[in-house]
Amino acid sequence: MRLPPQPSERIDRRRPITFSFEGTPVTAFAGDTIGSALFASGRRIFSRSFKYHRPRGLLCCSGDCPNCMMEVDGVPNVRVCVEPAREGARVRPQNVVGSLERDLMGIVDKVGGPVTPVGFYYRTMIRPRRAWPLYEKLLRSVAGLGRIDEHATRRGRFETEHRRAEVLVIGASSAGLDAARRAAAAGRQVVLVDDGPDPVPGAGDARPFEIIAPASAIGIYEGGLVPVDAGDVLLRFRADRIVVATGGIEQPLLFPGNDLVGVVLPGAVRRLVNSWALKPGDRAVVITADDRGLAALDDLRRAGVEVLELVDLRARKPGAIAAHGKGGKLRSVAVDGRSFDADLLVMSGGVQPAYSLLAQAGAKIQYDAARGVFLAEDLPDGVEAVGAAGGELAPAAIPAATFGAGGRKGKCFVCMCEDVTDKDVKRAIREGFDSIELAKRYTTVTMGPCQGRLCQLPSVRLYARENETDEAAIGTTTARPPWRPVSLGLLAGRGHEPAKRTAIHHRHKDLGATMMWTGAWRRPHSYGDPIREAQAVHESVGLIDVSTLGKLIVTGPEAVPFLERLYPNRFGDMAFGRIRYGVLGTDAGRIMDDGTIARLGDELFYVTTTSTGADTVIEWFEWWNAVWHMEVEITDVTGALAAVNIAGPRSRELMSRLTDLDVSSGGFKYLDARRAHVVGVPSLILRIGFVGELGYEIHFPSPFGEFVWDEILQSGSDLEVKPFGLEPQRILRLEKMHILVGQDTDSESNALEASMPWIVKFDKDDFVGKWALEQVRERGAREQLVGFELEDGVAPPEGGQVVVGGRPAGRVTSSRWSEELRKVIGMAWVPPTLAEEGAALDIKVDGGFERAKVTLKPFFDPEGGRLRS
């Protein structure tokens, strides 16, 4: 039943809305919340409490307390008192076995109190230890909040939006609106956010500042970052100035029965009557520490509620207050022995400024003994507090920590969220949890959904009284974001996971490649048959996309000394148009990357790196260039150039069809670099062979990726040219015993122990890591990277153990079956004593051992005849 139209009601009676509660239709009006519509339909019990399953009804009507949390359209823990009613919404209660009126778990309230004090499970459920999973399941089924549907799918789209404001006002209290108007009048760009409905409805573009409502600021972070929950969008505000106008939070009083259905805060009366035209009850008692209770009194009278008693705590301090009920609903109120048959008790324990956002911003929180509240002081630059949040409060009495029951029994709740009573707090103090932070963790007061809004101040008062000290000495717990509940989906937002694709990527997909991640790159693992693809390279000609290689242009008068300082090998003696393999080391002499260095001119070098190491190498080059101040320019051309490798005995024949360049063995030798047009595209061609066969690596502008790929495949169709992926490439390079940095090396590997002593030129003046490598040379190798082969058996797992004398002595880094060699081949780190041609290794495989033979030369074409042909 609704009251006659109220002057400031928010409902539009011409626009009915229907939603369902437990399958039963409920009629609401536009402007209603789900909670107000349910109240209008006669519902008084809205939830069952966390632990005792006590009936709970509307308490604050402002989204502060946990009493009205329900599941709405599958989303748990929705505070229906502030959730707008919407057509077709499906609403159901949560944490209930049965119904809200008859919850079978309500038995816990009858029998559980004495045996389930705070922290009881820490003491009673620790033995037997193996039963804990059972206990945990039981606790989780009995206590708690709403349940998440484990099979739920994404319901909606969450976005993150980056916003800026010169002035961001949080809260549309009158002080907040004033602050916004003043700033706007001063020409500032102002945005006001508020978690209620639009505070200036209908103003449209006439507003002097932007209003975002309903929207909740959930924290204040460094740099003026204020995330704002605006439903499906998380607005990440950066503001030059933040005005906090979050107002104050009405505080409950602590007395037996203070959680009964029908015990409400003044704000609930104001909203029920004025916003939704609802009569809160029939017969009321008002107990108040401030004018809010008196304002509620006016609202009640206007709504036709009979007010039986008014207790103004500023004038009179009763010794005992108790509320009594039946079925969880208020039936009577006793004040100092006088009993009133009331179904509504309006309690006001004063207002605590909502300081959490200010505390998060860095303000100091101090207790004001004169007013009995905590206030934010020493606000950081750029942050301002106005209105109640800033301590502008009407005079109020400081209520007692608790009011006695006058001899009658009943639970007195300090924390409604977690069902913590005054007895629980006293017990915790007796057990030694006298610090507010420790007690918080033990009792869980302030850790529930309200996050201390309604329990912080009362619990501090209680701690102070029981510890015979004052509230300032007790202090407060740390205020942390989020200030308002926020969904994990909103925090996560839309995932942005950058993926790199080569210019030939779609051709691989067209050819049916299985794609895999290598770093941020998407690359073809194979095109269906890796063994066959590897064999095509040995037998005819293969084509692989190697665009992912890192590529750098190093140029300048000091390019040679720069490279010679970075690499352990030498470059000054290179002829133009020649290529050299290089291993890049750290200051500690460890291998960080490898690649090729082609000299294209007197002061011009083209450097390639591994695919996954490219970004690190580029940073490494630039960092050292900044340190050494050398006349060198480094340009990253990784993405600018696509690259393909044509490899196999018939690759020369294929190349001759693609370019006018002399590709004969005499005209274009192994480790030569040439610039020429390939299929009409300007290219740099490197005669190198990572896969062990005659090969040409063609680097060319990326926009021609698909064109060049297509032309090569077409031109070589009669040569049976086949694309090959990463997996066959790994087989081929292993046959040649070419290392993969990161696979065959780790953060401790160095070039000497990785069997590449020839690359380290100790006679150079200096290079990065020289001193460290000298120490390695002096102490001798502790381990050695070698090849191994198994005539039969399975390929040992990469990372598998090499065992000597029954003890782990090394590890397998790579292993594959080679169809070409008809055996298992691999590489492993072994003790130096085993690094001899033909030495026997035991490798752990599937719990047993496989005997392998050490090989120091490449398995395939050890003399390099095919590569150099």
Binding site: A499, A640, R675, A676, G680, P701
Partner: protein, 192 residues
């Protein structure tokens, strides 16, 4: 081919045997959206996209339209050119190939990186909001170098509600998908 010509898209040579055509990394996505293409100055360029007349925030692939280089020192902004400072006293310069600032001769010391970058335009009412969902860059202080959808970009404003973004071409496919998706709630979509 000499010096660094192997980086230059416009050094491609058509012949009887081969007719090189350059493609943007986003061409495939446009093709899948039903776009029709034509060859322009050696590039395959989308000339129409189904439904493009209905989009309010236009997402355009303009990779083909710009020559990009990295060069020493500061560069003043000229008609049709966009420049941003890089570390080590260098500049990123994007010049419209058909603009007044198009240069016939390469600038001394400049490295042609046209092949390494892709370019997108986001234009129309709501473009700023689309951008704000992709980047925390201050859109009132452009040009800027910073992350868009976690990819390093050069962002310019070319109209009151128009943004031009340059980024490494290997992110083309990824960024196209992200931008088109972000623009959808604002009536955005691909446009030729």
């Amino acid at each position: 081919v000499s010096e660094l010509d192997f980086l230059a898209v416009d050094r491609a040579q058509a012949s009887d045997r081969f007719r090189p055509v350059a493609r943007s990394p986003m061409a495939r996505r446009l093709l899948e959206a039903g776009a029709e293409f034509a060859e322009r100055d050696g590039w395959l360029v989308a000339v129409s996209v189904p439904g493009e007349d209905d989009v309010s925030v236009a997402i355009r692939d303009v990779t083909h339209a710009y020559r990009i280089d990295e060069r020493h020192g500061d560069v003043e902004r000229r008609d049709g050119a966009h420049a941003a400072r890089l570390p080590s006293a260098r500049s990123f310069v994007a010049t419209r190939r058909d603009g007044a600032a198009a240069e016939s001769a390469p600038v001394q010391g400049a490295v042609d990186l046209s092949a390494g970058f892709a370019a997108l335009e986001i234009e129309g009412p709501g473009a700023s909001q689309v951008m704000r969902r992709l980047t925390d860059l201050d859109l009132d202080r452009l040009p800027a170098v910073g992350a868009v959808a976690q990819v390093r970009t050069f962002v310019f404003r070319h109209a009151p509600e128009g943004y031009l973004i340059f980024f490494r071409q290997e992110f083309g496919h990824y960024l196209w998908d992200i931008v088109v998706d972000a623009a959808k709630p604002f009536g955005g979509g691909p446009k030729a």
